[in-house]
Point group: C2
Chain length 404, copies 2
């Protein structure tokens, strides 16, 4: 959006193009009419990814609280939570207070902010709570717990547990766990809502068996911490775990109340590389235009570079290094075999291949779609999803939040 | 900005805090009152960087057309162009049409869009031109030149020259150069505005002598191409070169009319690493909060991760690998020796050091500033610069454009 709150011109042209079309008019717009770069969302893939994870949650007997840091979109959250059964809907998870505010503005009240809080952010948490948010915050620090307890305003606090990633969180058997709970418990208006852990090290796994093992470590750490809190007199209603790999391959979540996978909704080449989805499940891609040919070097340039694709190189660690993304046919979203973005400048992507590039199919001005390495990073650059059907026609425009 | 165009709450709190302070009231706000992560701009450093480059342009006898893809800010552009002498002001350079629109909205009419155009974008170029932009576009392709010539609307076109980076552009001695000019020349409403080249390979240089050599290659390529066009009857008024390393170390720009450096305005650790600025010249930094300690591992976590800092790892190629950024004292901006962000998650930055970290100075909730690896990538995540004076007090808030 522009400074004045009206869409800027590229956005306005793309929005107008989307709106002129749409299922209602029966004249769906083609991707080729969008200005590039733009973020595209395949609705059928999204809904399939969403349904499969709801079925996983149901089978595992836990609520699903999808992590919305990837999609940052209310419409995607609705797709994620549509028709959940079993333990039903656990609300949403967010990674910033900006996301918390956005989802509250879009009617989501049950929100967990799953990054350790600092005292300066409590005023905003209190404001959002006063506006109706059922907002849970996180800490692993006794000093912060003291600040929360001493604040006087009502807060619901989860204690973060380290289940092996060693990023944030206290060990489930540590004295700090009870110390933090006791400090929080002394705050008259503070609820110890439970425990939360994230097995981020599951991303380093390379097989379903390894992911199942990390999932069991994740479960066991959260359940053990909850048991200690209950023994000490804290009800600990929430026992929250989750990452896409562990949610996909956990064998049991006994004792857990909810899981918080996120990237599964969109998928990316890293997730495909470690086996939590197939390349054909990836729902988000970047629409780009061919801006130059370098036939002598069997290369071409597109107008999606480091900002449009992100500089994430996660797949570098995998057997199949996907560069900065895999180049696909605009309409079908099918990869051109072996055609990758292999280097980027700010607004230029350099596309190469081992076999001769299909220059005739891709003249300057033609469009392609690029599957992202790490969709959380790539999508963050965009304010809008252009939603497409199976024929590559734009059926809707969904907003996203961004920044902090 | 929120969907409704009003600032969202984090932004509103930060803007209100900025506004409550300000030079007029004499009660400048401290950085410690901002919510994090946030982008900080040291005004004194910016103005010094801007002045030095104006002096370079004056000494070299060329106009300065700063590339605004880095700062994406009208106020920074004003700082860049303030009081230019010699050949004076060359307007601004942009890397997206979104930036072109933003700068036009902020009163900058003379704009060069320095990424090869595609036919689908001509409608927006025409719209901006009709609204008063003196907008120059770029091509290196005969097919695109035909589309421009055949469009019928008035366009000013620069032909891109490859001076050795081999990204986009035609070789100065290639038949394509004259072919493209002749095709453009047949368009009744099209002006062949001149030639433009970018020595992006200057970033791979490691010494002033190497940069001076690339600068001479850049100059020679542009001047040779312009000479061929003039011999063929094209006036070729613009001969445009530029990158920060070549602008900094060029010995002569004879025959060149303007230069387009950009990153020099803010600086970053990569530029410091290759010697185009000092670490103490870096004007942009990310304000972050300490969110957790891991004393046993001599590590701490901050709330600036892959989105807030970018995943750019440019300094990996340099003798001093700066990780994802160098951690500095919040107020002075002075680096804590050897303290770096060495890994990132989406909203977590993992800070480590060879020597013991200053945990007592940096309790959970304390703030730091992080100098960026590659400021073009880092700044792109933010809508706002919080401008500070030499005492680390916030004196103004400057908007930035983002997206496409």
């Amino acid at each position: 959006m522009s400074k004045a709150g009206t869409p800027h011109k590229v956005e306005a042209m793309n929005l107008a193009a989307d709106k002129a079309a749409g299922p209602a008019t029966g004249t769906l717009m083609a991707l080729d009419d969008l200005l590039t770069p733009a973020l595209v969302l395949d609705a059928a893939r999204l809904h399939t990814n969403a349904r499969k994870m709801r079925e996983r949650a149901e089978a595992l007997g836990v609520a699903l609280r999808p992590h919305m840091k990837t999609a940052k979109s209310a419409e995607v959250a609705k797709a994620a939570l549509a028709g959940a059964k079993g333990k039903g809907l656990g609300g949403v998870t967010v990674a910033t207070l900006r996301e918390a505010e956005y989802f509250l503005d879009h009617g989501f009240r049950d929100i967990t902010y799953a990054v350790c809080i600092v005292p300066k952010k409590l005023a905003l948490v209190a404001t959002l709570t006063a506006q109706g948010a059922d907002l849970k915050i996180l800490t692993d620090d006794a000093g912060v717990a003291s600040a929360i307890a001493g604040d006087g305003r009502p807060f619901q606090v989860l204690i973060e547990i380290d289940c092996g990633e060693h990023r944030t969180g206290v060990a489930p058997d540590s004295p700090q766990l009870l110390e933090i709970a006791e400090i929080l418990g002394r705050g008259g208006n503070v609820t110890v809502a439970g425990v939360l852990t994230h097995a981020g090290h599951s991303y380093a796994c390379r097989s379903p068996d390894e992911m199942a093992k990390v999932a069991e470590d994740e479960r066991a750490a959260a359940v053990a911490a909850a048991a200690r809190l209950r023994d000490a007199g804290f009800a600990c209603p929430t026992v929250s775990v989750g990452s896409t790999p562990t949610a996909r391959y956990a064998k049991s979540l006994e004792g857990v109340t909810e899981m918080r996978p996120g990237v599964y909704l969109l998928g990316d080449l890293y997730q495909a590389g470690i086996g939590t989805c197939a390349v054909t499940d990836i729902a988000a891609s970047v629409l780009a235009s061919v801006i130059a040919h370098r036939r002598g070097e069997n290369a071409l340039l597109i107008d999606a570079g480091g900002l449009a694709l992100s500089k994430d190189r996660a797949t570098q660690a995998l057997p199949e290094d996907q560069g900065y993304g895999l180049v696909c046919d605009m309409r079908t979203g099918t990869p051109f075999a072996g055609v990758k973005v292999t280097s980027v400048h700010q607004e230029h992507g350099h596309v190469t291949a081992d076999a001769p590039l299909p220059f005739e199919k891709l003249p300057v001005g033609a469009k392609v779609r690029v599957l992202p390495n790490h969709v959380c990073m790539t999508a963050a650059a965009y304010d809008t999803f252009h939603v497409i059907d199976g024929q590559g026609r734009v059926t809707a425009t969904w907003d996203r939040c961004h920044g902090w």
